[in-house]
């Protein structure tokens, strides 16, 4: 898994690629929580377009990020979910609690939770 931070109009877009599994979810969690809790970024956008696989530990990291963003009064947004990632989100019945958009244009222009 690789994760790269991209500044965008005062926010941060995190481009994630590869597999978010037991071996790699701690790294994603660290970057995500760092953006939210330490850098106090008001809007963190996760680009999951190049994620091939996500397991329950990856989902748990996203949930932790979402809770942290709510605590901080900021927003965590996801976009570009593949069929595999969508399936796992649906299995966990968490897709409704996240702000999820199809593409980056929609994600950056979004005003609030759908």
């Amino acid at each position: 898994m690789q994760i790269a931070a991209r500044p965008f109009e005062g926010w941060t877009i995190l481009d994630v690629s590869g597999d978010i599994d037991l071996a790699h979810s701690p790294a994603m969690r660290k970057v995500l929580l760092g953006e939210i809790r330490e850098k106090h970024t008001k809007k963190v956008i996760l680009n999951l377009g190049a994620v091939r696989y996500i397991d329950s530990s990856g989902i748990a990291s996203l949930v932790e990020g979402l809770k942290a963003s709510r605590d901080q009064g900021s927003r965590l947004i996801l976009y570009g979910l593949s069929k595999t990632v969508r399936e796992v989100m649906e299995l966990s019945r968490l897709q409704r609690i996240f702000e999820i958009y199809d593409n980056e244009e929609q994600a950056v222009s979004s005003e609030g939770h759908k």
Binding site: D21, L22, A23, S56, I59, E87, L91, R93
Partner: protein, 176 residues
């Protein structure tokens, strides 16, 4: 990781159940792993190919891969409490129809480890309406497989996962 596989030349036709020549082995593969998270991606790739050879549909293949991955992650995290280098054995075989032994009806995957015994209370999973990290792995396994059976014998945990091939869809004929 040691991969031991047995390949036999056999004609496989795509149908509701995979038809094999008589005398074909049910054994597909055996993996001897260590409890290192980095091994999971290798197992996912191996299981994906194994299920494809039995002609599972792509969604079913993803489900089986997901269940095996979550099962292994549970062994690493809970049975071995994150300790690396501990032994895990994965065995994979075809399941045959009771009515016609030439037909394969599914796949059986057995995981064995020597970690601590699992707490039966934790095997119930957690309610999904609780929005909190963790506790989803078992739910994913049960949603993905037809059978998820835990047992413990002679100091070893055993998990049996079974997935059956979906019934064949009626073939379309002209005029449909």
């Amino acid at each position: 990781m040691i991969v031991r596989g047995k390949a036999k030349k056999q004609k496989i036709t795509k149908s509701a159940m995979t038809r094999l020549g008589s005398g074909a082995s049910d054994f597909l593969l055996k993996l001897e792993l260590e409890s290192n998270p980095e091994a999971l991606c290798l197992v996912r790739a191996t299981i994906e190919r194994a299920t494809e050879t039995l002609h599972f549909e792509p969604a079913e293949t993803r489900a089986i891969v997901r269940a095996v991955d979550e099962a292994l992650a549970n062994v690493v995290r809970h049975a071995y409490k994150g300790q690396r280098g501990q032994p895990i054995q994965l065995t994979c075989r075809r399941l045959r129809s009771a009515d016609n032994e030439a037909l394969v009806k599914g796949i059986e995957i057995i995981l064995q480890d020597s970690g601590v015994a699992l707490d039966p209370a934790k095997l119930k999973g957690r309610p999904l309406d609780e929005i909190r990290p963790g506790g989803l792995g078992l739910h994913f396994m049960r949603q993905s497989m037809d059978k998820v059976e835990f047992s413990r014998s002679q100091g070893q945990n055993q998990l049996r996962l079974v997935k059956y091939l979906a019934p064949a869809k009626p073939e379309k004929t002209q005029g449909d």
